[in-house]
Symmetry: C2
Subunit: 410 residues, 2 copies
Amino acid sequence: MGKEFLNLMEPEEVKNILNSLVGDKTVEKVGLKKSLGRVLAENIYSSMDLPPFDRAAMDGYAVIAQNTFGASEDEKKVLKIIDVVRAGDYPRKNVENGACIEVGTGAPAPPQADAVVMVEYTEKSGDKILIYQGVAPGENIAKMGSDIKKDHLLLRKATVLTPDKIGVLSAMGMNEVPVYSKPEVGIISTGNEIVTPGEVLPRGKIYDVNSQTVASAVLACGCTPANVQIVKDDYQSLKKSIDSLIDSDIIITSGGTSAGAGDVLRDVVEDMGEVLVHGIAMKPGKPTLIGLIKGKILIGLPGYPVAALLVLEALVVPFLRQNLGLAFEEENHDTKKLKISRRFHTSRGRTQHLLVRIENGSAIPILKDSGAITALAEADGYIEIPKNIEIIEKHALVDVKLFRQGFTLF
Amino acid sequence: MGKEFLNLMEPEEVKNILNSLVGDKTVEKVGLKKSLGRVLAENIYSSMDLPPFDRAAMDGYAVIAQNTFGASEDEKKVLKIIDVVRAGDYPRKNVENGACIEVGTGAPAPPQADAVVMVEYTEKSGDKILIYQGVAPGENIAKMGSDIKKDHLLLRKATVLTPDKIGVLSAMGMNEVPVYSKPEVGIISTGNEIVTPGEVLPRGKIYDVNSQTVASAVLACGCTPANVQIVKDDYQSLKKSIDSLIDSDIIITSGGTSAGAGDVLRDVVEDMGEVLVHGIAMKPGKPTLIGLIKGKILIGLPGYPVAALLVLEALVVPFLRQNLGLAFEEENHDTKKLKISRRFHTSRGRTQHLLVRIENGSAIPILKDSGAITALAEADGYIEIPKNIEIIEKHALVDVKLFRQGFTLF
């Protein structure tokens, strides 16, 4: 009882340790339709020239440009229409002097045509067109390979596949994509007092908040919550639970980390493996534990929901994203720069994460304890306050990190 | 051939029309585990007091505060430990004068106890404790209902369920959540020249880019791409395809909207229903069409991938999000304020959406045509330029709207 946190570790040092623990990534192929939000595991090179052929960029008439030189309202040039090529067709005839071929946007340019006269600058008369305005060679034709040549780099490894990038892969005709596998995260909520939502609540107990908060945050950052367990706060139960989840890539627990009575996580991790961090100079989140068991990382969050969430957002989500193949520097939050609504005295000496709600364009600090569920209900995000700041003045600009709404998963 | 866009509609007017077309929302219940990213369809009121009982906020000893008054290093107060209550237990005994009950954080406070002395300020000696520092009544006890009382508003309708809000629902013991149903979106790519990725590419053809770009954007904004079809650019094929998707909530097509040869969407929509918008004062995206067929909204995007994507982001995604129960004003993008890398001459008279890539903290305009796939490959987002701006000076600050990485879906 009463273990003290004699040496609190700085958050930056903890980040460096987490950084060094990022595992080898495995690669899998997923269908293009399932690739949204996934992270490319390889550079993608173009498999063909784009456009794959000389292509009309406008509706109009494919011509030999020289045949149109000098055309004007007063001196229209006349060309004979010898064929029509629509998008998806393939040209059957060559364009010759004095002739033209009607083309639709996207149609292959017929051989010998070196420009397209837009339909707007022409007038049709039987099987002929009258041209009001000349075109220069190359005009309104997108040359084969002008967008990209075969074997050129299109997308870099570690690109997140947003709709636009999925469009790029489509253009290459890919229907399977190499992406990094999602880390599987085992989740444990500890506490004799917690009960699964949906069950009857006996007196003296409360509903478990952290399981689904952690599972959702894991989902929202693109990983897979593999298994969720609620476990009693005793040595044997916790050890058994960790053992059963040891095939996960990462284990996240909550509760059982304080230096007080009935807190057993540290003992279990020490016996099963190695405690790397216990005690971080962060408020809330001081009792956070990081351990290594049989090569797997275990992160022990505090039990209070606000503390668990803020450690998750500030330390764990960036680490999970890194295990997905993204850089640690990757900005993990939408951020809004807002004025703070009131003067705020910080907990100097520790990096502080403060929940805020946003109202009328101001960030309003939520001054409730780490066990307050209403703090979660009201919060829109949080601000990070460096340890050397003592006071934030009213109306000072702060960066509010908004809670992540989600990340596509299938 | 050669229909002109005589009356281009302003984007603001188009938004108002879309606004008026938002359908009635249906509500469904989903399991808490499947609720990430969904939109609450009802106000959520607390179903119980929180905490549900007076609760120890620290590890220590539950006491009658008066028994500790005046305690100091020199004059320790002595109390007899008559029981132990851990989190999850229920108290069996009352605290009486001269007695105390050992409690763990989260344990119900025993009857008659009005404070908890932290373990750090005590010393154990057999079945007694010595107290160094007194506590005030109420200290270290979270009173029943002090966080929230039963029947108070916890979360408002239309809240997006982020991990923290899922924590709040967990605390209430909810395992099912009322959310708005996701709109189902039918998707059609038109063009005789387009081929599904993964198939062999015949000469004169190109791979279909828009189907998966649109489907991914629909997924990424929280809706369901219900059916994806590639259709020839002729009246009967397009009509048949729209007919087959008429049970979707919304239909999005791409291609077939220009005022040129072989473009048939307008004719089909006019015959099947009503064209509400055709021609928007926007670059790219001028030929965008909005129609109403049997009460269903059809949005016709341009065929060029860059144009399709930008209209999707600027007009369609906000409309889809509105159909999910969110306000139109809802900011739909992560935005970064960056300096533009070069002087840029706009297309004055039309609202312009310009793809940019981000490099060394600058926004670099991507000056390629709307058919360029490499423009999509390079882009990190886009900027919106109002129609009355003629020139953006080098190093001017611009708001870059980043492409949405995703929205959780199951």
